[in-house]
Symmetry: C2
Subunit: 194 residues, 2 copies
DNA sequence: TTCGTCATGTAATGGGTTACATGATTAC
DNA sequence: GTAATCATGTAACCCATTACATGACGAA
């Protein structure tokens, strides 16, 4: 059971929509999918090679994939059948591995390609993870009420508050997802639209 | 000008108070100082060695440093003069390097060892950094209002909100710090004490 | 023709983790 | 005596970044 790292999954998810070449993938990963702020080419291109080697993607000819003009020196990649299968399997599985910050953000941004049951599973798993984290943080604060100086304490207080907010956000999403069992709409622009 | 990484600075800050041995350092870094959730020994011990080599810390004898009973096989470390000097220099400088998540958290948790002017400088630098980040995120949202599906959009909305909250937090801290020019108190337990 | 951007790639390096190996001390 | 925890350390590895190297294309 080959494990799929975040980068691989991100590329898979990106290519599900349409074939893209490396440069485009990087730009979109940076602005669209969760945890890839500024992925370097030093990671991306080797990853693409690995994935070709693993049979998940393949280079498509110079069909000007999703492009405007025509250029020579670029290589567009598309999912193979194996790649598509892997993506689907990965989206459906959503094991305990999918609940840390990066994995969750990525999977969340891939929600459009999933069914409601999976979405709920992931949201609840993430919620569980954060609840554990909250307990940890509270325990931490309790154990060092004495020693900690005011700044350290404030940092902890704030960290805890942040995670609690995150849980509230998840609760809203979960509720939305539940009430949308019938009627296929999105996450319904939560609370304040800023 | 030897650059001081977060780990080195964290250890320096930790040992400023009292000598500690590796095992203790790890436990405290994990629960007290900002960004060291579960530092591995595979990082810690080599770091201690490096720091001894660099003359920043030195092993103190079996004085049972800050311990309860007496044990043999452990090595407590204390700051050398050079180490203390480096820590002070580092705390006072607070360059552009100190405003990303980890650096900021670390420096914040070391605020107790700093003067108000430095604290303000760091808080404002961090604020600046986050403002830039907000602009980036807004720009991102603007540019892809069309393409993005609802989930991606919600992720971005939420990410933006989180950073904006962070800025509000900083604003409060900055205000507190300013109004405390006279009267040496801590961060004055902001808003809700949960 | 030259500059900016598009586009791909490799090598060196960095900063961490996991797994491994070892042994002392304490509590039962 | 034996299990849990304290305590230190090394080696292998992972995964990313930075720096480097190359070159095509479009616009001025």
């Amino acid at each position: 059971m080959a494990k799929t790292d975040v980068l691989t999954l991100g590329i898979l998810g990106m290519l599900a929509e349409q074939p893209l070449h490396g440069y485009q993938i990087r730009k979109r990963l940076g602005s669209e999918l969760g945890p890839f702020r500024a992925l370097s080419y030093g990671s991306l291109y080797p990853a693409l090679k690995r994935m070709v080697g693993a049979g998940l993607i393949h280079a498509v000819g110079e069909d000007d994939a999703a492009g405007t003009g025509s250029r020579r020196s670029r290589i567009a990649y598309a999912l193979t059948d194996a790649g598509r299968a892997r993506l689907e399997q990965e989206l459906a599985s959503a094991g305990a591995n999918s609940y840390d910050d990066d994995s969750f953000d990525l999977r969340f941004s891939l929600f459009g390609q999933t069914d409601s049951a999976t979405r709920l599973r992931i949201l609840e798993g993430r919620r569980m993870r954060l609840s554990e984290r909250i307990e940890e943080l509270q325990e931490m604060r309790r154990r060092q009420r004495e020693r900690a100086d005011a700044y350290t304490a404030e940092l902890h207080r704030h960290g805890l508050e942040r995670v609690e907010r995150e849980v509230e956000w998840l609760d809203q999403l979960i509720e939305n997802e539940r009430s949308a069992t019938r009627g296929e709409n999105g996450p319904a622009a939560s609370a304040g639209d800023n």
